[in-house]
Symmetry: C2
Subunit: 87 residues, 2 copies
C-alpha cells in the first residue's frame, strides 16, 4: 500500500514524529512523508505515532492508496524532498 | 478528479494561499486542503497558486487521484477540519 502522512503536531513533538516517520517513509515536504508499506508496517507506524502524539492537541492524517500508481504528484515551487523523491 | 493540496509557504503568503485554496477545496488540516475538482478547475487552481507563491521559497504539492474512492483517510488525534470532512 502507498501511504502519505501529513502531521500537524506541537513543536515539542515534531522531532519525535519525524524520527518515527523516517523509519518507515521518505520526507517530501515540511510535515509530509510518503512511501510504500506493507499493512503490518503501516499498522506499526500508526501505533507508534498514536503513542507519541498528544491526541488532544496534535493531528496526524494518513492517506492510504492501493498503489503509488493511483496517485500523481505535481509540485509548484521548490522541491523540498531529495532527488529520490521526484517522480 | 480528487485533489489533495499540501502547502509549505512563507508565513507572509499563507493567508493568500489559504484564500485561493478555499475557493476550490475544503480545508482539512494545517496546510492541507482537499476536494473533487474538474480538470479545468484544477488547472485554474494550480495557475492561481503558481502566481501567488514565490517559487524560490515556497512549495506546494498537489496529489491527484482519479476519484476520492481511491484513497482512504485515517486520522489520529484531533480532527481539524469541519464535520463535513470526516469520511
Amino acid at each position: 500500500m502507498y501511504v502519505i502522512m501529513v502531521y500537524d503536531v506541537n513543536v515539542q513533538r515534531v522531532a519525535k514524529i519525524l524520527h518515527i516517520g523516517r523509519r518507515y517513509l521518505t520526507w517530501v515536504q515540511n510535515s509530509v512523508m510518503e512511501g510504500t508499506l506493507t499493512r503490518t508496517q503501516f499498522r506499526r507506524l500508526s501505533e507508534e505515532v498514536q503513542k507519541a502524539i498528544d491526541e488532544k492537541e496534535d493531528s496526524v492524517l494518513f492517506y492510504t492508496l492501493r498503489s503509488e500508481k493511483d496517485v500523481r504528484r505535481e509540485n509548484i515551487g521548490i522541491i523540498k524532498g531529495g532527488p529520490e523523491n521526484i517522480v
